[in-house]
Subunit: 204 residues, 2 copies
C-alpha cells in the first residue's frame, strides 16, 4: 500500500511540515484482539526513531503481554548498549505500580489505576517521553475510576510532541472525538469459536 | 482483557494440549492501517518464544515498514549475541528479492511475487521457521499473479508447527475460510481525512 495523499487540504494555517509533525492521539478499540499488539508494533516503530517509549499497562495480570514486554525491553537494552533506537520503559499495574509497590500491601485496583494516571499526567506535563502506550486504559474510564473529561482535557492540552496510544474495548465517545486516529479491530473468525484455547506466543 | 475460555469444546479427537499447539493461519485484513503493525507485534511475541521468524514483504518500496524492520532485525541481533529470543529474517520484494537480485535487471513484479511465493513454499516444506509474516500478500493474489487455491492448499497441508500471518486488504474468501483467525481493521477516524499527511515513526 503506497503512502496516502490527503483528500482535503485543511485551512488551519499550518504548514505541511507543522501538520506532519503534529503529535497524535491514537485509539485502538473494538471487540477483537490486535489492539494492544498493534500498539506495541507502533512502539517498535517509534523506538527506531530514537523516541523515548513508555508503556503503562492497566491490567491485573503480570503475565499478560509478556512477549511484547520482553521484546520492547530487549530493544531498550540495545539502545543502552549501542545507542541504536530509543529508551524503553514498561510499567504494569498488577498489584500496584513498580514505582510504589509495597510488599504485602492490600491492592485497591481503582486507587492503583488513578495513581498510574497521575504519573502519566506528570510525565506528559514534563514531556518525559515521545511515545506512550496506555494499554487497556479504556477500562478504568469505563468503570468510572478515572474521569473521561479529565483524560481528554489532559491529552488535548499536553505540551510538546508526545504521541499517545490508548487501547481497550468500548472507548468512550468523548475519547474517540478527541482522537486523531481511531482503529476498530473487528472479529471475523477466531479459533476460540471452535474450542481452541489461547496458546503461547500467539495469545501472550 | 482476561484470557478467554472457549464456548464450545470441539469433537475433533484432539487433546487440549494438541489443540492448544495447533499451528495457526492468521489473516489481518480490512481497509484500515494496523494490519501489518499488529502482525509485526505478533512476530515480536514469537521472537520471545525463541521462534525462528521470517518476514516476506510483497511491496515495491524498500522504505515501507522500515521501523518494524529495524526493530525486529535488532531483536535478531540480540538473539545472535545473547541467545535471548529467536532468529529473525526480513526479506522484501522491492525490485527483486535479496536472494536473487541482479544488478540493473528489469523488474517484473508479477514474476518477483511468484518467486517469493515459491521460496515460501520451499521453506514451509522444509519447516524452516516457526513464524512467517507474508506482508501485503493479499495483493498478488488479488491481481491474479499467485493462485489462491494453490496458496490455500499449501497452507492447509504445511507440515509441522509453523504459524503464518497474512496481511493486506480484500483477503479472498477462500483464504478467510482456510484461516483460523481473521481480524478486520476498520477505520473509525483517520488524520488524513482532515488533510494530515503521513508522518515518520507513525506511518513508517
Amino acid at each position: 500500500m503506497p503512502q496516502g495523499q490527503p483528500e482535503v487540504v485543511p485551512q488551519d494555517g499550518l504548514t505541511t511540515r507543522q501538520r506532519r509533525n503534529r503529535p497524535l492521539l491514537i485509539v485502538h478499540t473494538g471487540a477483537m484482539k490486535g489492539k494492544s499488539t498493534a500498539a506495541f508494533g507502533l512502539a517498535m516503530r517509534g523506538w527506531n526513531q530514537g523516541w523515548s517509549i513508555a508503556v503503562f499497562q492497566f491490567v491485573k495480570s503480570a503475565r499478560w503481554r509478556v512477549g511484547e514486554e520482553a521484546g520492547l525491553l530487549a530493544l531498550g537494552r540495545v539502545h543502552e548498549q549501542t545507542g541504536e533506537g530509543g529508551p524503553v520503559e514498561w510499567h504494569k499495574m498488577g498489584s500496584g505500580w513498580s514505582w510504589s509497590r509495597k510488599a504485602g500491601a492490600e491492592s485497591d485496583h481503582a486507587a492503583d489505576a488513578v495513581e498510574g494516571w497521575r504519573e502519566i499526567q506528570r510525565r506528559l506535563a514534563g514531556e518525559r517521553h515521545q511515545f506512550y502506550v496506555l494499554d487497556e486504559f479504556t477500562y478504568p474510564m469505563k468503570w468510572g475510576w478515572i474521569d473521561v473529561d479529565e483524560v481528554v482535557d489532559t491529552l488535548r492540552n499536553r505540551p510538546g510532541h508526545q504521541h499517545v496510544v490508548i487501547t481497550g474495548r468500548d472507548a468512550d465517545p468523548r475519547l474517540v472525538e478527541a482522537a486523531d486516529l481511531v482503529v476498530e479491530m473487528t472479529k471475523v473468525k477466531h479459533p476460540m469459536d471452535t474450542g481452541q484455547k489461547g496458546q503461547r506466543g500467539i495469545e501472550w
